[in-house]
């Protein structure tokens, strides 16, 4: 009987470890937690919400290394009363990445398109600057992207066609049938994590949206 009790305790201990590891495996894509310091305008957390905020939804492949631009601004430094007393130069890098469009789920897309993101490769130092929840794209990566058309933006695209992601929630890295969103605030459980399920939800959401219009 004593040996039996020891055996039961052993089984409990093994199961505790197995339970912990099982969840670890489910979350394996998030082993390195994504930290976000950006407050995104879009608060979309579900596929229907992402669809509603998108101009274009595409399955794409990264064709070229992001091309970085530095945007510099002269800004007034204020004293405590709010009066300008000096100027300060502030800069941020932005990058444009060329994608091959493989499949279009919603909207009208050319065969290739440019997507802008905050961050870039800074020359001559070679340093990389990127938002942790929207890292720079790498050549060959495959994504399903929920995009906003920002063509005509005075700062970034005054005379060209340019897109950005709705938010990291709408950036899904695709690999081996798995679709991983870059949403970093812990509410990503509302989003699908397989390509099949993501595509199914996109189809339904687009159809529902078009029906409502």
């Amino acid at each position: 009987m004593q040996r039996y009790k020891v055996f039961v305790l052993f089984v409990v201990a093994v199961s505790v470890i197995a339970g912990t590891l099982a969840i670890g495996k489910v979350n394996s894509s998030n082993d390195e937690p994504i930290i976000s310091s950006a407050y995104w305008v879009s608060q979309a957390r579900t596929v229907p919400d992402l669809v509603r905020e998108s101009n274009l939804i595409v399955y794409v492949r990264v064709m070229q290394t992001p091309v970085t631009r530095i945007v510099t601004q002269e800004l007034p430094v204020l004293n405590e009363q709010g009066t300008p007393v000096a100027t300060m130069t502030d800069s941020l890098p932005f990058s444009d990445t060329l994608f091959e469009v493989v499949k279009v789920y919603f909207g009208s897309a050319p065969a290739e398109l440019l997507v802008m993101q905050t961050g870039g490769n800074i020359s001559p130092s070679g340093d990389t600057v990127e938002l942790p929840d929207d890292p720079l794209y790498q050549v060959g990566e495959v994504y399903i992207l929920f995009l906003v058309d920002i063509s005509g933006d005075a700062l970034h695209a005054p005379d060209r066609q340019l897109y950005r992601i709705v938010s990291p929630a709408g950036r899904f890295l695709v690999a081996d049938g798995v679709a991983t969103s870059y949403l970093a605030d812990g509410t990503d459980k509302l989003l699908p994590n397989t390509v099949n399920e993501l595509e199914r939800q996109i189809r339904i959401s687009v159809a529902n949206m078009q029906e409502d219009q």
Binding site: G19, Y39, V71
Partner: protein, 188 residues
Amino acid sequence: MHLTKFTSKVAILKVAIMLGMVIGLFQHTTIAQAAINSYYGDGYFPTNNLNRCHVGGHSTQAQNASATWSSSTDLNMFYNCTGTHITTNNSSWGNTGWAGLAVITNINGQNSLSPGFSYNVTYQSCIARLNQWSFTNNPAFYTNAEIQKLATHELGHCYSLDHATNTSVMNNSSVPQTQDINLINARY
């Protein structure tokens, strides 16, 4: 009789396995949740007397946000553009998708937009950027009160707070909540 005894032992084993799995799952879930309602890491400013300087518009909203942290926590925010710890910055960065962006620099000179940045190293400075483009193009949403709330949120990042999923200014509250205040006062 023998069969009944065997069956009950199997049942006990099944219960033991399920209990173990549940404990394991619960353990892991607790760890995961704790990480999302807390600090970025072990790093933060080495003093609770912090100098702030403002550049660009919406200085009143930034000032009010700073004062809110000062009055509700042990932080003492001073306005001083010399030896500045935190710069609040309002300018138009275009249609980027973000309304606020906090960038921390640690004493090793690394900034938090660099891959490999360590949030466990003492902070040297922080820039809390507010994107005027987002305000101008969503005026119904970005009222002065909303901009102040956003500035309060970005300052929270500068003090070392991560995003939260419960009641918190690092989620969607307008002012620092009990959890935020406790986290700040534990460090400053």
